[in-house]
């Protein structure tokens, strides 16, 4: 009984992240357009794009291996599995029956998605695929350790890397109320979130100019439903990243039980946190220029250093 309830909770939370992923992208696009004095596309445009792609036919590169066709499904699966690790509405009460909530596993699954996508980009052959795969893996290896350090700086205070536990204890433990390490870690995390969501100043999601793209470049040879899978995975990954920031630094508002008002409150809190962070993405993207690729390491280094300092302050 309890196990069923737990599974239903996880499924609800994951479903929410998957369904709302495109909406967050739509919101960021809309807000960016408004900031640039345009009207912009509808909030629902990403859903329409997905529906359109699902109806379309596919063109596959004749040099690609059969594995290429599996890449979109695997990338989407890895991203959605990562999404199951996050507490969205409920904080766990007691040890989880199904232990899916580990932050290292979450980051590992996102890294798996990135790795598979890079393999797919190399599969078709051609210089663009190789170039973006190289760049994406380079950015990835700079972002991942920094993200881990940021997560660790919160985790060492709670003594666990389980995100649900972490969020649940953040309310109750005095050690977890806001301190200097949190501010530093949040600062680092926001920098890294820009890279992880593929946004300016690290990457430009709107570009289709081959020489400047990172993430988009890996999608060049994908088409139709496969492209839809990867696009959905990108939306979900963005929301996962934002929710991760929210879980680590703004945990209050999670529901404990199943009472409707409590759930409504949790939903409202979740929406408010994500909106706030999405607004941050849109504002940064409208007010900065994209960095040259070899400037990116310095920018990410800032995130790495602040995350490391946060961890150092916490441990010392």
């Amino acid at each position: 009984m309890e196990r069923t309830q737990h599974i239903v909770r996880i499924a609800t939370e994951t479903g929410l992240l998957v369904l709302l992923g495109p909406l967050v992208t739509g919101y960021v696009q809309k807000l960016k357009a408004r900031l640039q004095c345009r009207r912009g596309a509808s909030l629902l445009q990403p859903y329409r794009d997905l529906a359109k792609l699902l109806r379309k036919g596919t063109v596959r590169s004749d040099t690609a291996t059969p594995f290429f066709r599996a890449v979109p499904a695997l990338v989407l699966a890895a991203t959605v599995t990562a999404a199951t690790m996050l507490p969205v509405l409920w904080a766990p009460s007691g040890p989880a029956l199904l232990p899916v909530g580990d932050s290292i596993l979450l980051l590992g699954l996102l890294a798996l998605a990135r790795f598979l996508l890079a393999i797919g980009a190399l599969d078709a052959g051609g210089a663009f695929g190789g170039m973006v795969a190289s760049r994406e893996m380079t950015v990835g290896l700079l972002v991942e350790p920094a993200l881990m350090l940021a997560v660790f700086s919160v985790a060492v205070a709670a003594g666990t890397t389980d995100l649900g536990e972490l969020a649940a204890r953040r309310d109750s433990l005095a050690a977890l109320s806001w301190q200097a390490p949190d501010l530093l870690a949040l600062f680092g995390m926001l920098i890294l979130a820009l890279a992880e969501t593929g946004r300016i100043p690290v990457d430009n999601p709107d570009t289709h100019l081959e020489l400047t793209m990172l993430h988009e470049g890996m999608l060049l040879e994908h088409s139709g439903p496969g492209l839809a899978c990867i696009a959905l995975a990108t939306h979900v990954k963005q929301l996962v990243t934002l929710t991760l920031v929210a879980t680590l630094f703004f945990p209050p508002g999670l529901a404990r039980g199943l009472a409707p008002p409590e759930i409504a409150l949790a939903l409202g809190a979740f929406a408010a946190k994500v909106l706030l962070l999405a607004t941050f993405l849109a504002v940064v993207e409208s007010s900065y220029a994209k960095l040259r690729f070899f400037r990116v390491p310095q920018f990410l280094g800032l995130g790495l250093v602040s995350a490391f300092l946060a961890l150092a302050l916490r441990v010392l």
Binding site: L98, L112, R114, G125, T138, G140, G159, V315
Partner: protein, 665 residues
């Protein structure tokens, strides 16, 4: 086995089958010891070779665990070997015999119950592997072999000092006597001995900066032997570090000296990062894999060092057990995936004759089994879920985090540094293997050898598949492997066994921390995560592959309107370029571009590019040592007459002086 006389074929097959039988027997025996609980370790007295020393074999939990590691890769290599040697070898019979001797010596090192047996087996292991390294007579292999021999013997010399010092105090050679003799020594001597042992074993394990021979020697051997050297022989050296650090030199009670653990931990962190950074810039597939062994030895040492730091003290130490279990699990994991990757690289080498990945490409369509098994190994070694590399790194992370909290202060910070190094290593490894797999197997073939490659024969595939299964099993259900570590962890650290700490909630759930030490536990279930992943992938596959009216077609890859050729494919050099620039301080990249222009400077006739990165250890340390050795040799040359009786005179004088100084009354 084309083109070799039938007798050779039979001998090679029989030899490998014998090795396989030995591996299976050894595995069965080791597993029975590991399952034996508190039973006394099997002990076997050997015939007395020397008048002054008893020789014996003794298999306790730690020995048995390393025997399992030896047996796993040996079994795969024995299945793989005959077909590989048939396709490739210059001296298959010699190589088969050397292989058997090599494996037997590795097993003997693990089982040795006294210093003499240990040293003899250790030396046999070095010599047998050296024969395999130089068995393909080429200039570079001979050089690699020489360097290997020099480094290995420098290491053995350090070990000799340690063993002889202990034996001098114990007046005996068996480990029990050495152990009690070491307890009688004062702390400073013991630390000096441990550092010497660490250097001696580190030279064999490829710990930075003693790693320079490794990427030269490992690739020179036949590929299944490379798998054994990288996957197993390095572990035997680690066995030595475990044996000395936790057992022979350990104090009778209380924690190990803090300097031991921190030295091991920091050496491990440095090896991990430097190994993978150097691996990234290699274009020789087997050399790239060899550098990754340096990295993985580093990861194992991080866990081992942490266990040394956390172990001892009062009461059970679940965190130390966790760290040691992580190190041991990574030992097993690395044996599985590095063996798999070397066998995969060997399969490519056998079919194309090429190790330089710039000349490969497009092999996934020609050698699908090799390619997908190699990809599996690549995912595992990059520490990506849901395979085994992730599990052991997860455990190491947990141990570092919780250990860092418990230690606090500067020690905690060091643990944090190690954690960040480990995280960086994972990302770098993923980038490296995206490159290695992508450039070797994907895109278009860049040479005619690659274009006409065919899939390797079934026994070679079977050898790889065996290790791939191990990677999957250890990744999806690591809890079932934990009982393997029960005896070793309990012997080395005391207290609870690994499975009591790590799988407290059942074999399908891994827990770190646990209520035992007051810190809350983190739990993951790889099985659930993998099932979820598979389920979602299947669902996405069905949805995206659902039959629809819109057409599906094939088209050439988009290359801005030109006809795509292999020259459009990204090369390994290009792939690693961003990292070469970002980490220029480590690589000191050099490049030279020669242009030959025609009548006008704008008409290029020829363009030559050469680029290389350096191994800082090689240029900063070894080049200087080499210079010094050469200079000294020149000096000594003055006194060398070239006549044999002159040298005999030198030896005689040395012996007499030594006896006068050291002989006991």
């Amino acid at each position: 086995m084309d083109g070799q006389p039938p007798l050779t074929r039979i001998v090679v097959w029989l030899g490998h089958l014998l090795v396989l039988a030995g591996a299976l027997g050894g595995a069965a025996f080791a597993l029975s010891v590991l399952a034996g609980g508190a039973a006394a370790p099997p002990h076997l007295a050997l015939p007395r070779l020397f008048p002054f020393a008893e020789m014996s074999l003794s298999v306790d939990g730690l020995s048995a665990f390393f025997l399992v590691v030896v047996a796993l890769v040996t079994a795969a290599a024995a299945i793989y070997g005959p077909s590989y040697l048939g396709a490739h070898a210059k001296a298959p019979v010699l190589q088969t015999f050397a292989l058997a001797a090599f494996v037997a010596c590795m097993a003997l090192v693990c089982c040795a119950g006294d210093a003499m047996t240990f040293l003899l087996a250790w030396e046999g292991m070095t010599l047998a592997s050296w024969v395999l390294v130089v068995s393909d007579p080429r200039e570079e292999n001979a050089r690699a072999g020489l360097l290997y021999l020099v480094m290995a013997h420098a290491g053995t010399a350090a070990l000799l000092v340690v063993f002889l010092t202990l034996a001098d105090h114990a007046q005996a050679f068996d480990f029990a006597a050495l152990r009690s003799a070491a307890r009688g020594l004062d702390g400073r001597t013991r630390t000096a001995l441990f550092m010497l042992a660490l250097a001696g074993f580190g030279a064999k394990a490829g710990v930075v900066p003693l790693h320079v021979w490794l990427p030269k020697a490992h690739p020179a051997a036949p590929s299944h032997v490379s798998a054994l050297m990288s996957g197993v022989m390095l572990k035997i050296a680690l066995y030595g570090i475990f044996r000395f650090g936790f057992d022979l030199l350990a104090p009778a009670s209380g924690p190990l000296p803090a300097s031991w653990g921190w030295t091991v931990l920091l050496l491990g962190s440095a090896s991990a990062v430097i190994g993978v950074l150097l691996a990234l810039q290699q274009h020789d597939l087997k050399r790239l894999l060899a550098y990754h062994s340096v990295e993985n030895v580093g990861i194992i040492l991080i866990g081992a060092g942490l266990a040394m730091v956390l172990g001892g003290g009062r009461g059970p130490q679940p965190l130390a057990t966790l760290a040691l279990a992580a190190a041991l699990l990574h030992t097993l994991n690395h044996a599985a995936f590095k063996g798999l990757l070397f066998l995969g690289a060997g399969s490519v080498l056998a079919r194309t004759g090429i190790r330089n990945m710039e000349e490969l490409g497009g092999l996934a369509r020609r050698m699908p089994w090799t390619a997908w098994l190699f990809l599996l190994g690549a995912i595992a070694i990059s520490a990506l879920p849901p395979l085994n590399g992730f599990v052991s790194e997860w455990m190491t992370f947990q141990a570092l985090l919780l250990g860092g909290v418990r230690l606090g202060g500067a020690s905690g910070l060091l643990a944090g540094v190690a954690a960040s190094m480990l995280a960086l290593t994972g990302g770098l490894a993923a980038a490296c293997f995206a490159k290695a797999f992508g450039v070797t197997f994907l895109g278009r073939p860049r040479s005619s050898h690659a274009e006409h490659a065919r899939e390797s024969p079934a026994p070679m595939i079977a050898g790889m598949a065996l290790l791939a299964l191990a990677c999957i099993a250890l990744g999806l259900a690591p809890g079932f492997a934990m009982p393997l570590f029960d005896r070793p962890t309990a012997e080395l650290l005391g207290g609870l066994g690994a499975s009591a700490v790590v799988t407290a909630r059942g074999p399908l759930v891994l827990t770190a921390g646990g209520p035992v030490n007051g810190l809350e536990a983190t739990a993951i279930s790889m099985t659930v995560a993998a099932a979820l992943f598979a389920l979602l992938a299947a669902a996405a596959w069905v949805v995206s592959g659902w039959p629809r009216e819109a057409p599906r077609r094939l088209a050439p890859t988009w290359t801005c309107g030109m006809t795509p050729t292999a020259r459009f494919d990204y090369t390994a050099t290009a792939f690693a370029k961003p990292l070469r620039l970002i980490f220029a301080a480590v690589y000191r990249p050099r490049r030279q571009i020669e242009r030959e222009t025609g009548p006008s400077p704008y008409v290029l006739r020829r363009l030559a590019y050469t680029g290389e990165v350096v191994d800082l250890a090689e240029t900063m340390i070894y080049a200087r040592v080499k210079h010094w050795v050469n200079a000294t040799a020149q000096e000594i040359r003055e006194y060398s007459t070239g006549r044999i009786h002159g040298y005999i005179g030198f030896v005689l004088v040395t012996l007499t002086v030594a006896l006068l100084v050291f002989a006991r009354p």
